[in-house]
């Protein structure tokens, strides 16, 4: 029921208020004098409902303005002044003559309009009080307030009783007094004053004393037996009671506001500073997540520290294992700040928590460029118990930093520490991202360099498998159709990882591709490749390679090995590792390289399998850091030798991933197989 009423009042507040106002207006034009009791009661009801609906409508409207209580106060004040103005003008024009007793149309129109202005004004003022009452209240005080509202209503309607019997006026007086008591109680809820700034408090102090007086005068004129009182009282006795009560409310409320503000003035400055501290800390929190440049943030921190901690200068230094670096200064020169910092920290001293240093004890022998600081607060920038720097706040004045200010300086230092850590992490993640992009590029290069298909021929079955490692190794293999009968191939491994090895690999491809067209001798080709590569390779890089030429007509394999893993030859039930001597490309110049290298020739028999692979296979690790080794590879090939080459590759990969599960693949894996089919 109550909620329904509330809903009607709220949702259609404006419409209801307008509707009732029009009714009231028409009613009063038709019956300018409420001489019968019924008319008077209807009139009182209309007035009350107009006030009620308007009040509820204004509540929504004013609620949006509660963030600036001073505006609310000022608006209420303007309306109070308006009432005062109208009352004074009316009283002085009409004098104390009782001409209003006449029932002229204009007179009644005038009194109705006047009444409307008053209704509007007092409802607005009353709503303002309501907003101020609930402003910044932590507890639910609506019971207190609603009780007062009920007594307002009771006082309003108690006037009707007098209509029946003019001696029956004590309930009205009783309600009136109780309402005033409740007004007094409710007027003490003025905690919002504490949250005003110092300037606003001064402003409020002046406004409230004026308003209190103004409401007082208004009240006096309504009580006084003036023409105004008569007009209102004739229009509606309840409205008159309401107006006088609200004027009392205003007087008391603003009186209390005045004194409260007065008592709040001495602490206004401290409150302002605390508020600024909190808001600057909040700003800093925002900045930390937005500003990636620590230098910029450091500047903000020193500026805020100077302002909020009542210091004259502030500066921030960063400390690493080797040196101390000035990051930003405020109100002090770099040179001076540096001097003082060195003086305080130069002896390798550490300040584990905030400390206050008096000028006399430390700086007496330093001429800090005329900057005579009496006391300096030093707060460490600490993250995970490691001190990354210090925040300094310095004062010219004699008075020391108090406990509160110390805490504030430390709070700013903590923020700086977090920001510093943040900046570091961001830098690291950018670097990581860059590396990951680099890896992507490297993988891309590698993918494009390797052949997408393997050559096919009747007598020579070929299969190639390549599995890149996350970090990108430098494995490379390729096939070169040298003539109808001759197929050249290379399997190589560039030392190192990442983009550098990917680039070397690209170069290696170029070298082998061009050399394979000119030189048909594997050893000669590798020697030439070494000459070319040695010029461009970094000292610490090398390339291992096997270059071979298979004659597809008669099944001879010529090859030379430059430091690469040996080739496997599976012939019948025997498997052997063939490792002719030869050092890696880039390890030594000629003639050292050339003399180390031996070329080999193998005559393949039917169903012989040649296996070339990179060290990614034997050096694959399991969770115990054991190698996959050569024997395992030998056995897999032997056991599966009857199968197709692709199946053998799959088998190797399967065993390999079984072996090194739970262990990341740290090097590329390359497996190139040839099978000689004599009979085709």
């Amino acid at each position: 029921m109550r909620n329904q009423l509330k809903n009607i009042a709220r949702s259609r507040g404006l419409e209801n208020a307008i509707l009732l106002s029009i009714l009231l207006f028409l009613f009063n034009l038709i019956f300018p004098l409420h001489d019968s009791v019924v008319l008077a009661i209807i009139n009182e009801l209309l007035v009350f409902l107009s006030v009620f609906f308007l009040y509820h409508y204004l509540h929504q409207f004013l609620n949006a303005k509660v963030d600036s209580p001073l505006t609310l106060v000022l608006n209420a004040g303007i309306l109070a002044a308006l009432i005062f103005f109208i009352v004074s003008i009316t009283n002085s024009i009409l004098g104390s003559s009782d001409s209003s007793k006449g029932i002229g149309f204009f007179n009644s129109l005038f009194s109705v309009l006047l009444a409307f202005v008053f209704i509007g004004s007092i409802v607005y003022i009353f709503s303002t009080f309501r907003e101020l009452f609930f402003l910044r209240q932590k507890k639910d005080l609506s019971t207190f307030y609603n009780t007062m509202l009920i007594f307002f209503a009771l006082s309003f309607f108690s006037n009707i009783l007098i209509l029946f019997d003019s001696s029956f006026d004590y309930p009205k007086d009783a309600f009136y007094v109780v309402t005033i008591v409740l007004i007094c109680l409710n007027s003490t809820r003025v905690s919002w004053i504490a949250f005003l700034t110092k300037k606003q408090k001064y402003y409020l102090l002046i406004i409230s004393v004026i308003l209190s007086t103004l409401f007082g005068i208004n009240f006096a004129t309504f009580i006084d037996n003036s023409i105004m009182r008569q007009i209102i009282y004739t229009f509606s006795p309840g409205l008159h009671t309401l107006m006088s009560l609200i004027m009392i409310y205003g007087t008391i409320n603003f009186g209390i506001i005045f004194f409260t503000t007065l008592f709040h003035l001495p602490t206004a400055e401290a409150f302002d500073r605390k508020a600024e501290e909190v808001s600057s800390l909040m700003d800093l929190t925002n900045l930390i997540t937005q500003v990636f440049d620590f230098k910029e943030l450091a500047e903000t921190i020193t500026t805020i520290t100077t302002r909020v901690c009542n210091s004259d200068s502030a500066w921030l230094v960063l400390k690493s294992d080797i040196n101390i670096e000035l990051s930003s200064v405020h109100n002090i020169g770099y040179v001076d700040a540096d001097k003082i910092t060195n003086n305080l920290l130069g002896s390798g001293e550490n300040y584990d928590s905030i400390e206050i240093v008096q000028f006399d004890s430390i700086l007496s022998n330093t001429n800090a460029g005329g900057q005579l600081f009496k006391s300096i607060a030093i707060a460490p920038l600490k993250v995970h118990k490691k001190i990354n720097g210090y925040l300094f706040a310095a004062r010219h004045r004699e008075n020391n930093f108090d406990q509160d200010e110390k805490k504030t300086v430390q709070a700013f230092a903590d923020y700086a520490a977090v920001a510093l850590e943040n900046a570091k992490l961001i830098e690291e993640s950018i670097e990581k991202e860059r590396l990951e992009k680099e890896l992507d590029v490297a993988r891309d290069i590698q993918k494009k360099i390797l052949p997408s298909t393997v050559p096919t021929s009747n007598r020579l079955e070929i299969s190639a498998l390549f599995v890149p490692a996350f970090e990108v190794g430098g494995d490379y293999y390729d096939f070169f159709e040298l003539s109808n009968d001759l197929l050249g191939f290379v399997v190589a491994d560039v030392s190192g990882k990442g983009i550098s090895s990917a680039f070397i690999m690209a170069e290696v491809k170029g070298i082998f591709e061009s050399l394979s067209k000119i030189i048909t001798n594997p050893k000669e080709l590798l020697i030439k490749a070494n000459d070319t590569l040695k010029r461009s390779l970094d000292k610490r890089n090398f390339v291992t390679a096997i270059y071979g030429i298979i004659n597809k007509k008669n099944g001879t394999l010529n090859f030379a090995r430059a430091g690469h893993t040996p080739i496997l030859l599976c012939s019948g039930e025997r498997i052997q590792s063939i490792q002719p001597p030869g050092i890696g490309l880039g390890l030594d110049y000629n003639p050292g390289f050339a003399s180390s290298l031996k070329e080999m020739e193998i005559q393949l028999k039917n169903n012989d399998i040649i296996i070339c692979y990179s060290d990614g296979i034997p050096e694959a690790k399991n969770h115990k850091e054991e190698d996959f080794g050569y024997d395992r590879l030998d056995n897999i090939v032997l056991n599966n030798r009857e199968k197709s080459l692709d199946l053998i590759s799959n088998e190797v990969m399967k065993e390999l991933s079984l072996f090194s599960k739970n262990h990341s693949q740290h090097d590329d894996i390359t497996l190139v197989l040839f099978k000689w089919n004599q009979n085709n």
């Binding site: 030392s495 190192g496 990882k497 610490r540 090398f542 390890l587 030594d588």
Partner: protein, 117 residues
């Protein structure tokens, strides 16, 4: 993370580097630091003792390649000793024995320097 330790000590006029654990791309810079220090100190006679080394990657090998030339130009050398078979195989595959001297014992390697003067 595989561990790696490197220790430098002097045996007469020869610097002996003890390497221990896993020498790969991540740990190679530690070894490089030692070599840089030796270059600054103009100490060119180096023996690397592999007794406790478990694994070496191509990046690890690269470290020796990077410094051996300078050492040899200054009448010094990098010699290897006490290498486990599996580690030696890696060196062997690449043909390092043709370019570097390998010794069973550290003492032999150190003596070799003294013999040369």
């Amino acid at each position: 993370m595989a561990e790696f330790n490197v220790n430098l000590r002097d045996v007469g006029s020869v610097s002996v580097i003890d390497v221990k654990g896993y020498l790969d791309a991540h740990t190679a810079p530690e070894l490089e630091n030692i070599f840089n220090k030796l270059l600054v100190e103009k100490q060119f006679k180096v023996v690397v003792n592999f007794d406790e080394l478990k694994y070496i990657s191509s990046a690890g090998l690269g470290v020796f390649m990077a410094y051996v030339e300078t050492m040899r130009e200054n009448k010094g050398d990098i010699k290897f000793s006490n290498m486990k078979e599996n580690v030696y195989n890696i060196f062997d595959l690449l043909g390092f024995p043709i370019l570097y001297e390998f010794y069973k014992e550290e003492k032999e390697a150190v003596h070799k320097f003294s013999d040369q003067g």
